[in-house]
């Protein structure tokens, strides 16, 4: 998992049930299609400071059910493009969780860490070891499922599929 083994960044902390309509507003889903444009609108309706303030490797720490609502992938893309390093949450909405892993954006479930981490704090995540280090101590999370690691290692589902397609064509 080159590049995403250790993530060290500042925390943006949010609450429970943050839905995809506030992460990336529905009104933009068919008008803004260039991923480069998307970070400008990230979390527009939740935190007007996020889009301008986010730094590479920053980390979102959130409560339960982060990313509930529609299946729109832009709600992951806009954060990935903004340089966000990871999201640590108590739980994720299912599709959002999948979209994160498929985009090689680590989505880590660690309820105890969420309670312990404060907004603005700098934390470090060791993805391979399954550990979050913060002011309050070290917390462990369930490692990313093995079947998904290969997608992670390829850099996301798109390069992963491309690799497999090329391979299939090679044997044909």
């Amino acid at each position: 998992m080159d590049g995403i083994n250790i993530i060290r960044g500042r925390v943006w902390k949010y609450g429970d049930n943050v839905n995809t309509d506030v992460i990336f507003p529905g009104k933009y889903t068919y008008t803004i299609s260039d991923p480069i444009e998307m970070p400008k609108y990230a979390l527009e309706d939740l935190d007007p400071h996020f889009a301008d303030g986010v730094q590479p490797n920053d980390i979102i720490v959130a409560g339960t059910n982060w990313g509930c609502g529609s299946s729109r992938e832009q709600a992951v893309t806009c954060l990935k493009q903004s340089g966000l390093g990871a999201i640590v949450a108590k739980s994720f909405a299912r599709i959002y969780y999948r979209n994160c892993l498929n985009a090689a954006l680590p989505a880590l479930i660690c309820p105890d860490a969420v309670d312990a981490i404060g907004n603005g704090e700098t934390i470090e995540i060791d993805v391979a070891a399954g550990e979050v280090h913060c002011d309050a101590g070290t917390f462990t999370f369930q490692p990313v499922p093995a079947a998904v690691i290969k997608i992670f290692e390829a850099g996301g589902l798109i390069p992963y599929t491309r690799k497999l397609l090329d391979k299939r064509r090679g044997v044909e």
Partner: protein, 418 residues
């Protein structure tokens, strides 16, 4: 120990005897459903190096989200999709006006018992009404299915919801769904397969059952299932596009959560702004002013829902201060509603009837609210900003209550109009 529906169908699809929750399996779906987002998916498919889709027969592509196109940009989006469909020889394509994808999938006999539907839409669990395993997936995942034919799925834990008793007058499956969501919470069934049983479920017709499978998405669930019975088989007679084989869970299956509900104690329920699990009994909030009433969507835009609304509206007018929008869920529903005189009732009452599709449900067009306005809707979502502006409020209710509220100009119990 027996297996739940989700475990059984995923084991079968993975070619395994049994699977356990948490396990990852790779499967090939029977149906890969996409809508207006087919064009962006195509962009990803090309980025992946995709040329020919894995199996054209697997696709169901239904244009519904912004139809007819409200802008040139949307029209371009549709054109790209039509070109793609022709080029790949995709047989199950339904152009603008046919209806909302989840409804059309059922009407066209493409959501079948014992089959797997993966859709790039969060309400794909809707297919559970036919005893299919329906789950929503992301756009890249859909593109990957187009390319490779398969996808990884995590075998979900399962929730059993057993409902007994009868629904009181004015109370519908929508109220039951809202009641359960209010009880379990928006994350109450996160990642899980929600499997509905009990004498009430058996008694409901397919239209009402579909409200339950549809709204299951609002509990965070992966999929939903209602046991397919004779009503389902009769409906599919002459309609099913393929032979199918129903799958039923084992009687001794292991459910992570088991809930029992008594339908006879439920009253009309309302999901208040801005979350679907912010559920209150109608009596608590009756009298709340509304600017707009909306009957439609994959949740409550079927013939039965239009019949219910027309029943309330017959010989009445909607309040001067209020607009009402009616959008049939499909062209079949529209035709039947015309034949039965419901459309005339709506027009006479002062409502606006639009062509089948999602309409203003997610803020695209055909009746989005203004800043500060309040909508009562038969849809499934009331998130802030859902209908276009975050400065507006959405209340979710059953179609009888939506229609009664349009007449009164405020949230109203339909029995109070009589």
């Amino acid at each position: 120990m027996g297996q739940t529906f989700a475990e059984k169908i995923l084991a079968k699809k993975a070619g395994r005897k049994r699977v356990i929750p948490g396990e990852i399996v790779e499967i090939t779906p029977d149906v890969a459903l996409s809508h207006d987002n087919t064009a962006p998916i195509l962009g990803i498919f090309k980025k992946m190096g995709g040329k020919k889709v894995f199996n054209p027969e697997m696709h169901a592509i239904i244009l519904d989200h912004a139809t007819p196109a409200p802008s040139t940009k949307h029209a371009e989006n549709h054109r790209v999709i039509r070109d793609f469909v022709r080029e790949q020889g995709i047989p199950y394509f339904f152009d603008i006006g046919r209806g909302i994808c989840h409804q059309v999938l059922v009407e066209e006999g493409l959501a079948l018992p014992g089959e797997v539907v993966l859709g790039s839409d969060s309400h794909t669990p809707h297919a559970g009404v036919m005893g299919a395993f329906g789950a929503g997936i992301g756009r890249s995942e859909m593109a990957s299915i187009w390319a490779l034919g398969n996808l990884w799925l995590r075998v979900p834990e399962s929730v059993k919801i057993a409902v007994h008793g009868e629904l009181p007058p004015w109370v519908t499956a929508k109220d039951l769904a809202l009641h359960v969501i209010g009880d379990l919470g928006a994350d109450g069934a996160i990642y899980m397969s929600v499997e509905w049983f009990g004498e009430l479920i058996e008694a409901l017709n397919l239209s009402q059952r579909a409200v339950l499978s549809n709204m299951t998405a609002e509990m965070g669930a992966k999929s939903s299932y209602l046991p397919p019975d004779q009503k389902v088989f009769d409906y599919l007679d002459g309609r099913a596009k393929r032979a199918y084989e129903p799958i039923h869970p084992d009687p001794d299956a292991d459910y992570t959560i088991v809930k029992q509900y008594d339908a006879s104690t439920i009253e009309p329920m309302i999901a208040c702004p801005h979350t679907v699990d912010n559920v209150r009994p109608l009596s608590d909030i009756a009298g709340t002013h509304i600017d707009q009433a909306f009957i439609g969507t994959c949740t409550n835009g079927r013939l039965e829902d239009l019949a219910a609304a027309a029943h309330v509206l017959s010989d009445k007018k909607i309040a001067d201060s209020t607009r009402m929008i009616v959008i049939p869920a499909s062209s079949q529903v529209y035709k039947e509603a015309l034949r039965k005189g419901y459309i005339e009732t709506f027009l006479s009452a002062g409502a606006v009837v639009e062509s089948p599709g999602c309409g203003p449900c997610m803020g695209n067009h055909m009746g989005v609210p203004a800043v500060g306005e309040v909508t009562i809707s038969s849809a499934n979502r009331n998130f802030r900003g859902r209908m276009g502006t975050k400065e507006s409020e959405i209340y979710l209710a059953n179609p009888l209550v939506v229609a009664a509220s349009a007449v009164a100009g405020a949230i109203t119990h339909p029995k109070d109009l009589e």
